[in-house]
């Protein structure tokens, strides 16, 4: 074997991609040729450095949740006819809904009615989704006079945006979100990097006091004031979130249709 041929085969030799007879030829040549051996050593050193040094990334949990949630959503949505029979779709939807983390699976197909289990699940899913990079904010501002007008004409109420900075809850912005088949306002506050989402939309019914549910490490608080339903969602502890809700209600009592 000539050096040129040997050098051509060093990479597949190192990677275990040679047939046994080629492998033997390269090995025999390397045993005799210091030039090719030096090239081979260089290749091996580089390769090992890469194998040890390249970063292997773990898919974030929230990505995993987002995919499973999207798959469930996918199954709940009619697809191209070529894809599958309705029967298959129904079975697949049923299967995924069971297989998937239960509370992430149901948004997109439910309607919000009061503090039902489905509303709770949907709020949670929306909150988690909002934590995805780039998904938190449509209007990023810590000034209530920027955030509040931004919703004009975008949702069918003017959401309260009280300034609570002095209490440690910093207004961070707002965005449009999608809950129960309608576009809703989401106001975002931060406390020590914990995100609090406040969702609101018009909803008929008597005023109700805040009630707390806890699910998957998140606390959700639901109340209704003046024909507007509110949900606050966060991973803050329950005491702090309740404190936030009290401050928010006190500061935001002027919610109007």
């Amino acid at each position: 074997m000539q050096c040129a041929e040997c050098l051509d085969l060093l990479n597949p030799y190192h990677d275990g991609e040679l047939l046994p007879e080629e492998l033997a030829e390269v090995r025999d040549h390397l045993a005799l040729c210091p030039e090719c051996t030096r090239a081979y050593d260089e290749l091996v050193a580089t390769s090992h450095l890469l194998q040890d040094g390249l970063v292997r990334y773990a898919a974030p949990d929230v990505l995993n949740a987002r995919i499973r949630s999207a798959l469930a959503h996918e199954d709940a949505t009619p697809l191209r006819p070529a894809f599958a029979s309705p029967r298959w779709l129904r079975l697949a939807a049923a299967g995924l809904l069971i297989a998937v983390t239960s509370s992430l699976a149901t948004w997109g197909t439910v309607r919000v009615r009061g503090a039902s289990r489905t509303a709770r699940d949907e709020i949670l899913a929306t909150h988690v989704r909002s934590l995805m990079p780039g998904h938190l904010m449509d209007v990023a501002s810590n000034n209530q006079h920027n955030v509040k007008p931004w919703f004009n004409g975008r949702v069918d109420l003017s959401p309260p945006v009280p300034a609570l900075d002095s209490t440690g809850f910093v207004l961070d912005g707002g965005r449009l979100d999608y809950v129960g088949g309608r576009t809703v306002a989401a106001i975002v506050y931060l406390r020590r990097q914990h995100v609090v989402n406040v969702f609101s939309w018009p909803e008929a019914g008597d005023d109700s006091d805040p009630s707390v549910v806890t699910t998957q490490g998140y606390h959700l608080v639901n109340w209704r004031t003046g024909g507007v339903a509110f949900w606050a969602a966060s991973d803050l502890n329950q005491t702090e979130l309740s404190e936030f809700v009290a401050l928010f209600r006190h500061g935001g009592a002027e919610a109007k249709r």
Binding site: D15, L50, Q51, Y57, A59, I67, A92, G95, P133, G134
Partner: protein
């Protein structure tokens, strides 16, 4: 009850999410873009799962991830509608979660990842698929969509460049 197809998708494709995300990170060099691309790819894989017959499921999935990544890069400058102002609290940098099974010093690792990030894309992807994910040439050929001979020559040229950049070039005695 899950159908056989759903179970197959869970069993064959979902276990490769980390590899998909890693490839996307190296292709796009941005964690947010990588997450969006992997989600897009997973949905596409699911839609076209009927078309998957046999062969290596990881290579099949990563080929979709790669295609989605290339498409994403072509259009990502045009359709950024919202401005993520507060990305820092959305998720902690996941370098902390990267597996760290080696004795390579942190500074070396940074130099290595910088060097790979600086490679042209066609070299970068074969290096990641081979050195990090340990794929045989035939599977790399599936993912990248080029003949095995091309995989071999790209890998060879990529390693030569990296040897120069990383100083592993052996001095002639």
């Amino acid at each position: 009850m899950a159908t056989p197809q759903v179970e197959r998708f869970e069993a064959l494709i979902m276990p490769h999410l980390d590899d998909a995300y890693t490839l996307a990170r190296y292709l796009l060099r941005d964690e947010h873009d990588a997450q969006d691309v992997v989600q897009d790819a997973a949905l596409r894989a699911y839609r076209y799962f009927d078309g998957y017959r046999d062969g290596d499921p990881r290579a099949w999935f990563l080929a979709i991830v790669r295609n989605c990544g290339l498409t994403w890069q072509r259009r990502r400058r045009h359709d950024r509608l919202t401005v993520p102002l507060v990305a820092q609290h959305a998720s902690a940098p996941d370098e902390s979660r990267a597996t760290d099974a080696s004795a390579v010093e942190r500074s070396d690792r940074e130099a290595i990842n910088r060097a790979v990030a600086a490679l042209p894309e066609e070299f970068r992807e074969v290096v990641v698929l081979r050195e990090l994910q340990g794929m045989p040439y035939a599977q790399i050929s599936t993912v990248v969509g080029v003949p095995i001979g091309t995989v071999m020559s790209r890998l060879s040229r990529a390693r030569k460049r990296l040897a120069t950049m990383l100083g592993t070039t052996q001095e002639a005695s």
